[in-house]
């Protein structure tokens, strides 16, 4: 699958951190809470004093779907693929997925961990995989 945000987005801190292999979350310098998608203001204390904090990478699976129908001609070779919603320890939700080819047995509520995968030189994605997936 080769779908990217447009270039002007890749210049933003969220994507710049990912391109260096790390998942950073937009976080409040005053109250410490994290939020996603990134925003100019903290939705908890309404401070504009926000910055970036590295995520622990720990999450649970909120939901998932195995996409079997390609909704674009370019995706014909990619189906089936798995899209997930993951709830991070920091209290934020991310859209994520399971890397192509990885065998998984997904259950809502299961523990996941972040695995940033480089797609090309300026672009990487935060996948979340079952905690024991690499050991299996």
């Amino acid at each position: 699958m080769n779908i990217k945000p447009a270039k002007q987005f890749l210049e933003q801190p969220y994507w710049q951190h990912l391109a260096k292999g790390k998942l950073f979350l937009n976080s409040c310098n005053d109250c410490g809470s994290s939020h996603h998608p990134p925003s100019p203001i903290c939705p908890k204390c309404r401070s504009f004093n926000t910055g970036w904090k590295e995520a622990s990478g720990k999450a649970t699976l909120n939901s998932f779907t195995v996409v079997r129908h390609a909704v674009h001609p370019h995706l014909e070779q990619d189906v089936p693929y798995i899209v997930t919603l993951v709830d991070l320890e920091e209290g934020v939700r991310l859209v994520s997925g399971i890397p192509a080819g990885m065998e998984v047995d997904l259950k809502v509520g299961m523990a996941l961990e972040c695995k940033v995968i480089q797609k090309d030189e300026d672009f990487a994605l935060p996948y979340f995989v079952p905690v024991d997936a690499d050991k299996a």
């Binding site: 080769n2 779908i3 447009a6 909704v71």
Partner: protein
């Protein structure tokens, strides 16, 4: 609210209308005025979705309306099917306009399709590019292949299934009951795209999976056509036609993460907190047990169990029992989507479901129920109750 729906009008539903969205809109508006017994020059207000391609200017100019004293737009598409009714009603009650038409025209099958990724992506060599700041198909979703609303609905469905620990079989029967029951309604409905196509539970179970756990028959029908709804004050409606249906309550209710696509909402196995129902029913002085027929914006079948639970028609986690036992059917305790819904009549961004509510209350439905009070919602984001004040 102190307003009434006095006219409903539409073109045929099809997969290829063969004409412009403007022409479709005009046909639907004239048809709705005819139904109401009003003249074109009676229109002094228009409401529409921001997503509609046909502007108020295009309508005013095409019809040569002498003047338009109010026009308003609500964000998104069907999310605001009842929000547009609330807006038209508010304008009438505030004295900004006296006769407001809510219209929707779209060539959603022969033109730009909501079920296709091309709507949100551009091509750059081998790569596909997202430019969208918000779902669906936004920069955070698209790279994982989450592109169209129907895939989001699969995420809510899986979340519900997991949260209540439903087996594959029971979950399949729950949604299958929605699809099959609504198809039977559509088989009696001359307007329905699926009028002549039967659907059995076996057909449903054996159908192609689109995005697990949803099958092809869990999805609505991309449709070409147009619809229009005419509103006036209750007082004026009383002097017009016995067919008038009153807007007893109309509401909008969104919360952080809920719009556009609920990806970031706190819960994904429930799409509206209890307050959404309290606001809606409170304004009408009614409770869920007062409702005779429900219209649920079923972009997918999953919207039906969620709405029934979210608005307190049944308890949390009770949807499988309710639907599998056919309580949404013609002999059930709460018939749902008696036109066949967006699944089997057509995907008309909710206007066709409002129109079916009007028909039920007029006694003109193809699947007529005993109906004094009709409920309608889209995921709680906008909702209404129709009846007679």
């Amino acid at each position: 609210m102190k307003t009434s729906i006095v006219g409903i009008g539409q073109t045929e539903f099809s997969t290829n209308s063969g004409r412009s969205e403007l022409k479709l809109a005009l046909e639907a508006i004239l048809s709705a005025l005819d139904d109401a017994g009003l003249e074109v020059n009676d229109i002094d207000g228009l409401v529409r979705y921001t997503w509609d391609n046909t502007s108020e200017a295009a309508i005013v100019n095409a019809l040569g309306l002498p003047s338009l004293k109010y026009y308003g737009e609500t964000e998104f598409g069907g999310v605001n099917c009842c929000g547009a009714i609330a807006q038209a009603s508010a304008a009438i009650q505030a004295g900004l306009a006296s006769c407001v038409v809510f219209y929707r025209a779209l060539n959603a099958r022969s033109g730009v399709r909501f079920g296709r990724g091309e709507r949100v992506l551009s091509e750059d060599g081998d790569a596909l590019i997202s430019h969208q700041p918000e779902p669906p198909g936004d920069i955070y979703s698209a790279p994982f292949g989450l592109l169209v609303p129907g895939q989001h609905h699969a995420l809510y469905a899986q979340s519900y299934k997991g949260h209540y620990g439903l087996s594959d079989e029971r979950f399949t029967e729950m949604l299958g009951s929605v699809a099959v029951t609504q198809r039977r309604y559509a088989n009696n409905n001359p307007r329905a795209l699926m009028k002549d196509r039967s659907l059995t539970m076996d057909d449903y179970k054996n159908a192609r999976v689109i995005s697990e756990p949803l099958r092809i028959f869990d999805y609505c029908l991309e449709t070409d056509g147009a619809m229009a709804i005419v509103l006036v004050s209750q007082e004026r409606a009383r002097s017009m036609s016995a067919k008038a249906v009153d807007v007893l309550s109309a509401s909008q209710y969104i919360f952080p993460g809920s719009v556009p696509m609920y990806l970031y909402a706190k819960d994904t196995y429930s799409l509206a907190p209890p307050e959404a129902g309290e606001v809606l029913f409170g304004r009408a002085g009614l409770k869920p047990s007062d409702i005779d027929v429900a219209m649920v914006y079923d972009a997918t079948s999953m919207m039906v169990p969620l709405a029934l639970e979210d608005f307190g028609f049944i308890g949390r986690g009770e949807a499988a029992d309710f639907l599998i036992s056919g309580q949404n059917g013609p002999n059930g305790s709460l018939p749902v989507n008696t036109h066949g819904g967006l699944l089997s009549e057509g995907y008309f961004h909710g206007l066709n479901s409002i129109a079916e509510g009007v028909r039920q209350l007029r006694g003109e439905s193809s699947n007529q129920m005993k109906a004094d009070t009709v409920f309608m919602t889209l995921r709680g984001a906008s909702s209404m109750i129709m009846g007679r004040a």
